[in-house]
C-alpha cells in the first residue's frame, strides 16, 4: 500500500522451531490508531516489537516510514528515533531523574543542547500532566506517573509512530485512565499508533481499527464498532466473551 506508515508484507518469525508470527500482512496509514488484541501468546507483542527492530523476523518484509527492515544496511538506531515505544513495565532508567530520563536520547542521539532538551522535556511533562515531577526519581512515582514519563520519554524524540506494548497491564486499576487519557490526546493529535492492549473501552473509543490475533496470525481486522458488535471469527467471539464478561 503506497503511503503506509507501517507495512507488514508476509512477515514470519520463529523462536527456534516455534513459529510465533505467520505471514502477517498489515498496513497502517499515517495518523491511524490500531489496537492489536488477542489471547496471551498470540504474538501481538512480538508483532509490534518487530516494528522498531527489537525482534528480528526471518521471512517477509516490514517497511517502516519507507525503510525496509529486511534489507541490509538499515541504520536501526536512526530508524528507532522515528518510532517511539512504551513498555508494559515502564522501563524508566532508575538511576536518572524524570528530566534526565526524557533528555538522555535527545541529547545523546539528536545532539540537542541540554537546555533545549530540557525545555522540550518540560513541555512534554505538561502534556502528560505531571509538570511538577521533573526532579523526581522513578522510584518515587506511582505506576501511572511512571508510565506517563515513559510516554514523554518516547515523545521527546519526536517520533512519527508510537508503539504501546500493554501500557496499562502493570497498573493499578485507578491509574489506568490517567495513562489512557494521555494516549487518547496523542491519538487526537494525529499520531500513528499501534497499541497492544486489553482495554476494550479504549479500543472502542479511540481506535480506527482493531486487529485480532491468534496463534501468530491476524485472524480478523475491522473497525471497532463492527468488531465488537459482530466479530466474524469464532476465535474472536470466544476471546471477546471471555474478556468482556466481567
Amino acid at each position: 500500500m503506497a503511503g503506509a506508515a507501517i507495512e507488514f508484507e508476509g512477515v514470519s518469525k520463529w523462536f527456534g522451531n516455534h513459529q510465533v508470527l505467520t505471514d502477517i500482512d498489515l498496513a497502517i496509514v499515517p495518523g491511524e490508531v490500531v489496537v492489536v488484541c488477542g489471547p496471551s501468546g498470540s504474538g501481538k507483542s512480538t508483532l509490534i516489537r518487530c516494528v522498531n527492530g527489537l525482534e528480528p523476523f526471518q521471512r517477509g518484509d516490514l517497511v517502516v516510514l519507507g525503510d525496509s527492515l529486511a534489507s541490509a544496511g538499515v541504520r536501526m538506531p536512526a530508524l528507532r528515533t522515528r518510532v517511539g515505544m512504551v513498555f508494559q513495565s515502564f522501563n524508566l532508567f532508575p538511576h536518572m531523574t524524570v528530566l534526565e530520563n526524557i533528555t538522555l536520547a535527545p541529547v545523546r542521539v539528536r545532539g540537542l543542547s541540554a537546555t533545549e532538551a530540557e525545555k522540550t522535556a518540560r513541555t512534554l511533562l505538561e502534556r502528560v500532566r505531571i509538570p511538577d515531577k521533573a526532579g523526581n526519581y522513578p522510584a518515587n512515582l506511582s505506576g501511572g506517573q511512571q508510565q506517563r514519563v515513559a510516554i514523554a520519554r518516547a515523545l521527546a524524540m519526536q517520533p512519527k509512530i508510537m508503539l504501546f506494548d500493554e501500557p496499562t497491564s502493570a497498573l493499578d486499576p485507578e491509574m489506568i485512565n490517567e495513562v489512557l487519557d494521555v494516549m487518547t490526546d496523542l491519538a487526537k493529535e494525529g499520531m500513528t499508533m499501534m497499541v497492544v492492549t486489553h482495554e476494550m473501552g479504549f479500543a472502542r473509543r479511540v481506535a480506527h481499527r482493531v486487529v485480532f490475533m491468534d496463534a501468530g496470525r491476524v485472524v480478523e481486522e475491522a473497525k471497532p464498532e463492527a468488531f465488537f458488535a459482530a466479530p466474524k471469527s469464532d476465535r474472536a467471539k470466544d476471546f471477546l466473551s471471555k474478556i468482556l464478561s466481567h
Binding site: 528507532r80 515505544m85 524508566l92 532508575p94
Partner: protein, 224 residues
Amino acid sequence: MLDLGVIVANFKFLVVQGLFGLGGFAGGTLRLAIPAIVLGFVLGIFIGLARLARSRFVSLPATLYVEFFRGVPLVMVIFWIWFIIPQLLRLPIPEYGVALTAFVIFEAAYFGEIIRAGIQSVPRGQVEAATAVGLTSAQTMRFVVLPQAIRNMVPALVTQMIVLFKDTSLASIIGYVDLTKAAQIVNNREIKPFELYLFIAVVYFVFTYSMSLFARRFERRLAS
C-alpha cells in the same frame, strides 16, 4: 604483658619494608596489593565483557579462564609462575614480578565474574528501552547499563578487593617481604610472636576496615 618495644624498635622495617616495600628487599604489601587490584580489575572488565559476548569464540575462552582459575588454589598459581614459567622461558623472574602476575591472573577471574553478574543484573527491559529511543549499543552500555551495574557490583567488588589485600600475605612463601614476611623475619630474631602478629593483624584490619567504610559511604552516595 605485651612488650611493645619490639614493635617500636622494628617499626621502620615492618612498615617501610613490609607494608610499603621501600627497603633492601623485594616486598611491600601495598606495593603488591594496589597494582594487583587495579590491573586485576582492568583485566576482569575484559574477561567479564568477553563472557557476555555473543560470539562463542570470545565467550568460551573467557568462561574457561574463569572456571579454571576459580578451580585452582592461589598458592599453586604462585608456585607455577615461580618455578615453571622461568624454566619454560629460561629466564629468571623476580619475586615481585611473580607475585604481581599471579595475583592479577588469579583475581581477574573473580573480578570478571563480579562484572559479568553486575551487568546481567540489569533487567533486559532497560536495554530495550535504551535501544528503543535510538541509543547505540555502546551508548546503552555507557549511559544505562554500566551505571546501574556498577552500583550493583560495589559490595562484591569491595569484598573481593579486601580478600585480595589479605591474600597478598601468600606472596611471603616465595620470599617476597610483605608485612607478614617482615613480621616473620623480625620474630625469628626477637621471638615475640604475640606482639608481632597482633601488630600486623591490626595493620591489616585498619586497611580492610577502611575499605569497608569507604565502600559503605560510596554505596550511600550512589543510592542517593
